[in-house]
């Protein structure tokens, strides 16, 4: 790995860690209702909606509120897409989105996945982008944070019946955490050249005539293939280019801060209007990890022992550094087939990367975006070396718990922590406990469901796709890479990441529906058991810590937590990875 890459990684980590304590403290204060300006802003809103903010909810009620809220959100996004042709702020006069694509996108944004089967600048009107997608970017992020706050309350409270009021939590997170941060971030991004306007798209005349091959499309818009399965192309020429416009900066900020990742443009953060400079790239990477990292401190503060939060953060950071190193290292390796043809190998694997970012910025971005369930991309993961591409795949398969999505990452990690202390607790001869709460059969049942749901969705979804003609139809590449593409799609959807391996034509009814289902259950199949754990823990007595208690803040616990996350992830996916990226790597380096 180059010195530049080390420097970038080090700088990133230092800046990130510096933000943890102030932001974490601020979020803790907001969630405990100690942000005193709040009353003036909140109370009229509550009165308007008929919410009694002091009415606390049990876990079932809390879960119901969260589900209802997100279902309604998905419905609104669906409706906006299906009606956008007749709605205002549509300067390009885009048609209504197809039902299956609209269904997929609605679920995708409500679940914080932001998988995009469509091209943003050629599909969505500005209204849909702003009122549908951007709003969901805020609300789905708030949902994740609300759920983790509820779980933290489960640990912190002693024989309590309730875990907070979902409406109040959602409101406070959106108003005092997400909105201010997004405004700051958007302003900074515009300074780097990210666009923010409502203009129609601009046609520019290029300096020279460009000749290119374009895939021949059938009536459904799918590329036609010849008998060998290769895409049929036809020659074309052009001397004009359409430059997409739009309110990009405002959407870009929350796309990162909320670990949403749904780009305004199809090229996402590789597009110069979304991510123009190395500095904007750094800010985007930072804003992805900003809230997930700070929440660790919030967690420690709210359970009354900040060491607990630092321990979790340490486990996340160690895994992040290792994986980031792996991604940058493997991308620095050149493709041996190209080297044979005389290409200079010192540049690394530049295929599918932006020259303004290069290997280090692309590798680090890929690691961050896949670890954090963000899914924004500034390079094409499909073009990574086999092992370089394995890293983003593995990042997601670890369950999006290394930093992870806002809120979701921490609650996922805490679920793993419960599992780790369960086995460790038994090993020291005590009924396992975490933060003074006994881990018993009910918690283990819910932990099992939360850990089971996602891998099963990924594996079963991939299995169905490779068995059916509809599933195989989308594969663009032959060999093991084709399998990797399908595996990546389901991994990304069920883990609510949303990044794409490209290569796979996923905007088909089959994939839209399958991935939509995977996203919904991958999200709420975890949220509901997590809230159940929160409710059950809140009702328990907090046990005093003694010499016989397993300390959950030292290096031993950090090691244990990392071990559990890695073991569960690897045991689930080793066979699938062996048939995908691992075999690709072996084949490639064998020179075939």
């Amino acid at each position: 790995m180059s010195n530049h890459a080390w420097l970038l990684l080090g700088l990133f980590l230092i800046v990130l860690l510096l933000t943890v304590k102030p932001l974490g403290t601020y979020i803790a204060n907001v969630m405990e209702g100690r942000f005193r300006l709040a009353g003036k802003i909140e109370n009229p809103l509550y009165r308007l909606c008929g919410i009694r903010p002091d009415d606390e909810m049990g876990w079932l009620k809390y879960a119901f509120a969260i589900l209802l809220f997100n279902a309604l959100g998905a419905l609104v996004v669906y409706a906006l897409q299906r009606l956008q042709a007749d709605l205002p702020i549509n300067p390009q006069a885009f048609a209504n989105v197809s039902p299956d694509s609209a269904f997929n996108t609605a679920i995708s944004f409500a679940t914080n996945t932001n998988w995009q089967g469509y091209g943003g600048e050629v599909t969505m009107s500005y209204l849909t982008q702003m009122l549908g997608l951007a709003v969901q970017n805020f609300l789905s992020a708030a949902t994740g944070i609300a759920v983790v706050i509820a779980l933290i309350r489960g640990f912190a409270r002693n024989t309590a019946r309730s875990i907070g009021n979902a409406w109040v939590d959602l409101c406070r997170i959106t108003l005092y955490v997400l909105l201010p941060l997004a405004i700051i971030c958007a302003v900074v991004l515009t300074s780097q050249g990210v666009i923010q306007n409502f203009d129609a798209y601009k046609e520019v005349r290029t300096l020279e005539v460009t000749s290119f091959e374009t895939p021949k499309l059938d009536e459904a818009g799918q590329p036609l293939k010849d008998e060998q399965g290769a895409v049929i192309t036809e020659p074309a020429q052009t001397q004009s280019q359409t430059l997409a416009m739009g309110p990009v900066a405002s959407q870009e900020a929350i796309k990162m801060l909320g670990t949403n990742g749904g780009g305004f443009m199809n090229a996402n953060s590789a597009h110069p209007y979304e991510n123009p400079t190395p500095l904007s790239n750094f800010i985007q990477m930072l804003s992805i990890f900003l809230i997930p990292a700070a929440l660790c401190f919030t967690f420690g503060r709210l359970v009354g022992d900040t060491r607990q939060g630092w321990a979790v953060l340490a486990a996340m950071s160690l895994m992040f550094v290792t994986l980031a190193y792996a991604a940058m290292h493997f991308e620095q390796q050149a493709n041996p087939l190209l080297t044979q043809l005389g290409v200079d190998p010192s540049a690394g694997n530049m295929e599918g990367k932006e020259t303004r970012f290069g290997i280090a910025e692309s590798g680090l971005f890929a690691t961050i975006t896949t670890l954090a369930s963000c899914g924004a991309v500034n390079a094409m993961h499909d073009s990574f070396t086999p092992l370089g591409g394995l890293v983003p795949l593995l990042d997601m398969q670890l369950g999006e718990v290394v930093f992870g999505g806002v809120g979701t990452g921490l609650y996922g990690m805490l679920v793993f922590a419960i599992m780790a202390v369960f086995i460790a607790g038994l090993m020291i001869g005590r009924t396992p406990e975490y933060l003074g709460k006994k881990i018993e059969a009910f918690e283990m049942k819910m932990v099992s469901i939360a850990i089971l749901v996602t891998p099963l969705l990924v594996l079963v979804g991939t299995a169905i796709a490779v068995m059916l003609a509809d599933g195989r139809a989308g594969v663009a590449n032959p060999g093991a890479h084709g399998f990797s593409e399908i595996l990546y799609a389901f991994t990304s959807a069920a883990n609510n990441n949303g990044s794409a391996f490209a290569g796979l034509s996923a905007n088909t009814p089959f994939y839209n529906v399958m991935l939509g289902v995977a996203m919904w259950f991958g999200r709420f199949g975890v949220i509901v058991p997590v809230l159940a754990i929160a409710g059950s823990l809140a009702a328990k007595k907090r046990i005093a810590v003694g010499a016989g208690t397993l300390p959950t803040h030292g290096p031993l616990f950090v090691t244990l937590l990392i071990g559990t996350v890695l073991l569960v992830g690897l045991l689930n996916y080793v066979p699938a990875l062996a048939l995908g990226p691992v075999i690709e790597h072996l084949v490639l380096w064998a020179g075939q």
């Binding site: 599992m419 369960f422 086995i423 460790a424 038994l426 090993m427 020291i428 001869g429 005590r430 009924t431 396992p432 003074g436 018993e440 059969a441 283990m444 049942k445 932990v447 099992s448 850990i451 089971l452 891998p455 099963l456 594996l459 079963v460 299995a463 169905i464 490779v466 068995m467 032959p478 060999g479 093991a480 399998f483 007595k541 907090r542 046990i543 005093a544 003694g546 010499a547 016989g548 208690t549 397993l550 300390p551 030292g554 031993l556 244990l560 071990g563 073991l567 690897l570 045991l571 689930n572 080793v574 066979p575 699938a576 062996a578 048939l579 691992v582 075999i583 072996l586 084949v587 064998a590």
Partner: protein, 692 residues
């Protein structure tokens, strides 16, 4: 009480266990262990695949499928054997416990009144409602209620009190307990329990019962194991379409790929699911209970044993637990103007008729110090005054002398009533003795206060070390005593307990337990008296002494047959061992999967992608031998770990973090490394005997 102990694979137990292992192949039995049930179904499937292969339509060579099938069945049988062996041990122990019950005979009356005709029947034939007569020197054959007569009954076998008690019809004193003895007179008793319902009977039933209830931690662990099984089921089942798809993709490129066979998939599944811990789980539980039996402790449930491992506060009676049962006179402290010999003489006189251990120790001390021989009581023409709760003094009246000994305030009152004065210097001595943790007794001869006798508590040898051990385990020890605060503090310091409750009343004990519990601590307590019953019932773990009252035994969730209060420490260790054994084997089982992946994945897919041979890091001879080696290792490891499951992981009183680090290194890291070596060795052996 001695009991036969068994070596691990004692033929007397192992042989029937082998038979039981086959008997347990019944699907209804297998279903109770979901993880092993998956192996069971897998074995049946491969058996069918083998039969199909014999018919010439097999997906793999019949010989290969057969060897896999045999070893899968072995896996099931080994797990059954482990369980049967553990059950056999506890059954044998229960049988020897039953042998302790004395065969007694009852005189069953034909009519429910004294003097009616009776038949001699075995006590075991008595039913609820039968009426029996018990005469002097006979043992009461069953629990019951006196309906006629009055008798003195020796209940020492149950209560430990040697003084006989009166049992008569009607009122509070009508209940009699089986196993006690009528000393004089006769009583007619209506039996109130059926055979098999008595206390000891229930204990035996509990130990014997193979279908024991799962403990809470066992349930939670089973959930985790089932979840892991579902995960691996998902991994393996989806591997078939993945493999078929990959084979097609590979065919497009190289044209040689064949998909994975179902036999290999089943082998992979069985290797991945946590069979090691699942196969040994119930054996661990049964063995834990049986270890308690060996320690002469009978627990009413596995839940109680497990809870013992979580205890963080231990309440113990001072007397009999921390100190020897009785106090001993250690010094004579004469009042001003009295010689020590005079005091000793008066003290001896006052104690001659005192048969309590304290009284006797005074006589002994007087003899040691001043060679004062015991005097002939009758020659003295003395009238002895026995201790009563009212006067709280004892002593002797003779020849115009009125010698008394008793608590300081009682003697003070006595002397003042007689017109004497209680000297201030004696009060000072009394306080001084109390401060030392001893009990002061004051002796008075008429109105003359002679001085103070110091009665000292003798702290048991080695108890301090045991408390230090408990502290290392993270358990706080609390001494409960009726003594005053000063005395209690001194003894607490000498014995090295963490805290003490002086002047304890039943209410105070109960309140203390509740207070600890509200702080979120788990409280264990030992007790024997009826007044301990409420506290025992409130404690999370309550060990009643076998010599204790029925009420105490009913309130506790364990009974110590040896009536040794420090036994609680062993109970805690056993509880911890049970959990540790489960946790360690679970870790070991899961860690094993890494090596198994390295053995099976390349072997399974090398037919699709020859390049995957690069992952065969163990250098196993052939795909078939690799898969077989993993399956054989998976089956054999169960047998190798049976001793560990039955004996339990060794518990050492260390801090939680140290203990975890050691066990993680041993079972976690060991679990990663051992199978690499084991599978390689089995592979070499298979090559050597030409099976691969």
């Amino acid at each position: 009480m001695t009991r036969k102990t068994f070596t691990l694979f004692d033929p007397a137990l192992a042989v029937p266990a082998v038979a039981d292992a086959f008997r347990k192949l019944n699907p209804a039995v297998q279903w109770r262990n979901p993880v092993m049930f998956v192996v069971y179904v897998g074995s049946i499937l491969t058996t069918i695949l083998w039969l199909q292969a014999l018919g010439g339509k097999g997906e793999a060579p019949a010989g290969f499928i057969l060897t896999i099938t045999i070893w899968l069945w072995f896996t099931v049988l080994f797990a059954n054997f482990a369980e049967a062996l553990a059950e056999g041990r506890s059954k044998a122990q229960a049988a020897s416990l039953r042998g302790l019950k004395k065969e007694t005979w009852a005189k069953k009356l034909l009519e429910p009144k004294y003097g009616a005709k009776w038949n001699l029947v075995p006590a075991t034939d008595l039913r609820k409602g039968d009426v029996i007569v018990i005469q002097a020197q006979e043992t009461i054959p069953a629990d019951g209620e006196v309906i006629e007569g009055v008798a003195s009954v020796d209940e020492s076998a149950i209560t430990g009190e040697s003084a006989p008690v009166i049992r008569e019809s009607g009122g509070d004193f009508s209940a009699v307990t089986g196993g006690t003895r009528v000393l004089s007179d006769w009583i007619v008793v209506r039996v109130t329990v059926n055979p098999g319902e008595t206390f000891v009977d229930r204990m035996i039933a509990m130990v014997e019962n193979a279908k024991r209830q799962k403990t809470p931690n066992e349930i939670a662990l089973t959930i985790l194991l089932v979840a892991l099984t579902i995960v691996f089921l998902g991994v393996v089942v989806t591997l078939l379409p993945f493999s078929m798809f990959s084979a097609e993709l590979a065919n497009e490129v190289a044209g040689a790929g064949t998909p994975i066979s179902i036999t290999v998939l089943i082998a992979l599944l069985v290797c991945l699911i946590p069979t090691t811990i699942a196969g040994l789980l119930s054996a661990i539980g049964v063995a834990g209970m049986s270890r308690m039996m060996q320690a002469n402790v009978i627990a009413t449930s596995g839940r109680a044993v497990e809870a013992a491992g979580d205890v963080d506060v231990l309440l113990m009676d001072k007397t009999g637990t921390i100190t020897l049962g009785n106090r001993q006179a250690s010094t004579f402290l004469p009042a001003d103007g009295v010689t020590e010999a005079e005091l000793a003489d008066a003290a001896q006189l006052a104690s001659l008729a005192d048969e309590t251990p304290e009284g006797r120790s005074i006589v002994v001390l007087a003899k040691q110090r001043f060679q004062l021989r015991e005097r002939d009581i009758h020659a003295l023409d003395a009238h002895f005054v026995h201790f009563s709760a009212h006067t709280r003094m004892s002593g002797v009246d003779m020849a115009g002398r009125q010698v008394r000994k008793g608590a300081a305030d009682a003697i003070k009152k006595h002397v003042e009533t007689l017109g004497g004065k209680f000297p201030a210097s004696v009060s000072g001595k009394v306080d001084e003795v109390a401060r030392r943790g001893s009990t002061p007794l004051v002796v008075a001869d008429g109105t003359r206060v002679m001085g103070v006798i110091e009665l000292k508590d003798i702290v048991k040898g080695g108890i301090k070390e045991r408390f230090a051990e408990l502290r290392k385990m993270g358990i706080k020890t609390v001494m409960v005593t009726g003594d005053n605060r000063i005395t209690a503090a001194a003894i607490a310091a000498e014995a090295g307990v963490d805290d003490f409750l002086p002047e304890a009343t039943p209410e105070a004990k109960l309140a203390l337990i509740r207070e600890y519990q509200s702080e979120g601590r788990l409280v264990a307590m030992t007790g024997d008296g009826t007044n301990d019953a409420p506290a025992l019932a409130q404690a999370d773990v309550a060990v009643a002494m076998n010599t204790g009252t029925q009420a105490a035994k009913e309130a506790g969730n364990m009974v110590d047959l040896d009536s040794n209060p420090t036994k609680l420490i062993e109970v805690v260790e056993t509880g911890k061992q049970m959990l540790m054994t489960r946790g360690s084997l679970t870790t070991f089982s899961i860690a094993n999967d890494i090596a198994k992946y390295f053995a099976i994945i390349p072997a399974a897919f090398v037919s699709t992608y020859p390049q995957l041979a690069a992952l065969n890091v163990m250098g196993l001879a052939s795909p078939a031998s690799a898969i077989l080696s993993a399956v054989i290792f998976n089956a054999l490891i169960i047998v190798f770990l049976i001793p560990l499951a039955l004996k339990g992981v060794k518990y050492r009183p260390l801090g939680a973090a140290t203990l975890l680090r050691q066990n993680l290194a041993l079972y976690g890291l060991g679990g990663v490394i051992v199978p690499f070596i084991g599978i390689k060795l089995i592979d070499l052996a298979l090559v050597a005997i030409g099976l691969a």
